[in-house]
Amino acid sequence: MSDHDHHHDHDHSDLSETELRVRALETILAEKGYVEPAALDLLIETYETKVGPRNGARVVARAWADPAYRVRLLRDATPAIAELGYAGRQGEHIVAVANTPRLHNMVVCTLCSCYPWPVLGLPPVWYKSAPYRSKAVKDPRGVLRDFGFELPEGTEVRVWDSTAEIRYLVLPMRPSGTEGWSEERLAELVTRDSMIGTGLPKQPHEVA
């Protein structure tokens, strides 16, 4: 992360001015009685500690371990995901799409930053960035090279642009060499990026 500051240059310019502006705005809203500071703290805590890609990893691991669950997930993902307790804001209507040896799925929101919060949490900066939003729909293989991997020639690449309130979750392929693994162990292999389609699951030796 040595080049962190170059990732999103304007994130760090006039930071102090923005910092002061936000602090003042929160004070105004709290003093006017529009927001309750304890509710704000809870919102932050929820997305920093409870709602994140570990949720999605549990969904994927179950789909890998339980063929009937996989069928339910691919047929109608919203109720299947709710079986594990994940639902709501920015995940009201979820569609799960499965990778196969011949098909690779990738999810983007070219217009803003739509992302399946209940299963993946809040989106990373790169997902919201201009390079990803512009390039994913035109040169997804180039995006994958930015992430350090190359798809085999001939693989169909399928890009889902989340332009409505449908949110997409990629179901990556289960790595070989994981026969008989528990759902908990399988979930360790599932990375956030593998559920967006910009990465692959870890291999068994990476979590041994």
């Binding site: 930071l15 002061l20 936000v22 602090r23 705005l25 004070t27 809870l42 217009l111 690449v157 990026d193």
Partner: protein, 219 residues
């Protein structure tokens, strides 16, 4: 509206740069900007389409010159100013100068979990049959509304295929202006790479958008 937010296919020189072990927020002000934006939805009474329009309805230099949560903040300020919940002199002064406007409801800590879990489903009961079925060939209309729309520029005028019928959903173009939900049939429409980007495109590439019926015509 046409704006810098509509980024699909726009040439961009820099690569995508993933950040290893990225934190959820990069600073304290991002945490607070996120939280006040989420919490103000209830007393503010606006909908998600109004929020999106408030963020994207700005000149390209303005939009591209701000970070993600700076855009959220600018959108939130716009929504609150428009409704008289805060005044610009208060934002400049950094403190309240006028009495609060009465609001119907605020978000209490006890309600946070339930409100998030409930979310805001957009599917509505259909009042008429869908015009298109899976497999139909359609053309995305060439439209340039001055108001909010969710039909990205890069598919306008292009021919695609209906891949899924997603039900009847709140229509953002109407909902963003306050003209009501006006639910419309929503479809996943799939285009080939060469159709959108020309002969040089990967023939094994397919791209879909989710498009409401008023965006589409038979092809």
């Amino acid at each position: 509206m046409e704006g810098a937010h509509d980024m699909g296919g726009v040439p961009w020189s820099s690569p995508v740069r993933p950040e290893p072990n990225e934190p959820v927020f990069h600073s304290e002000w991002e945490r607070r900007a996120f939280a006040i934006t989420m919490a103000m939805g209830m007393p503010g009474g606006w909908n998600i389409d109004m929020s999106r329009f408030a963020r994207e309805d700005r000149l390209p230099a303005d939009y591209l010159g701000m970070s993600y949560y700076q855009i959220w903040l600018a959108g939130l300020e716009r929504l609150m100013l428009d409704r008289g919940l805060v005044a610009s002199d208060e934002i400049e002064a950094g403190k309240p100068l006028h009495p609060a406007k009465p609001v119907a409801k605020t978000l209490s800590p006890e309600d946070v979990a339930a409100v998030l879990h409930r979310g805001g489903p957009t599917e509505r009961k259909a009042t008429r049959p869908a015009m298109f079925a899976t497999g139909d060939r359609i053309r995305a209309k060439t439209i340039h509304p001055p108001t909010h729309t969710r039909l990205p520029r890069y598919v306008r005028g292009h021919v695609g295929v209906i891949e899924r019928v997603l039900g009847c959903h709140v229509f953002p173009d109407s909902n963003a202006t306050g003209a009501g939900e006006d639910p419309q049939w929503l479809y996943t429409v799939t285009f080939t790479g060469p159709e959108l980007w020309g002969e040089a495109s990967d023939p094994n590439l397919k791209i879909s958008v989710d498009a409401w019926e008023p965006y589409l015509e038979p092809a």
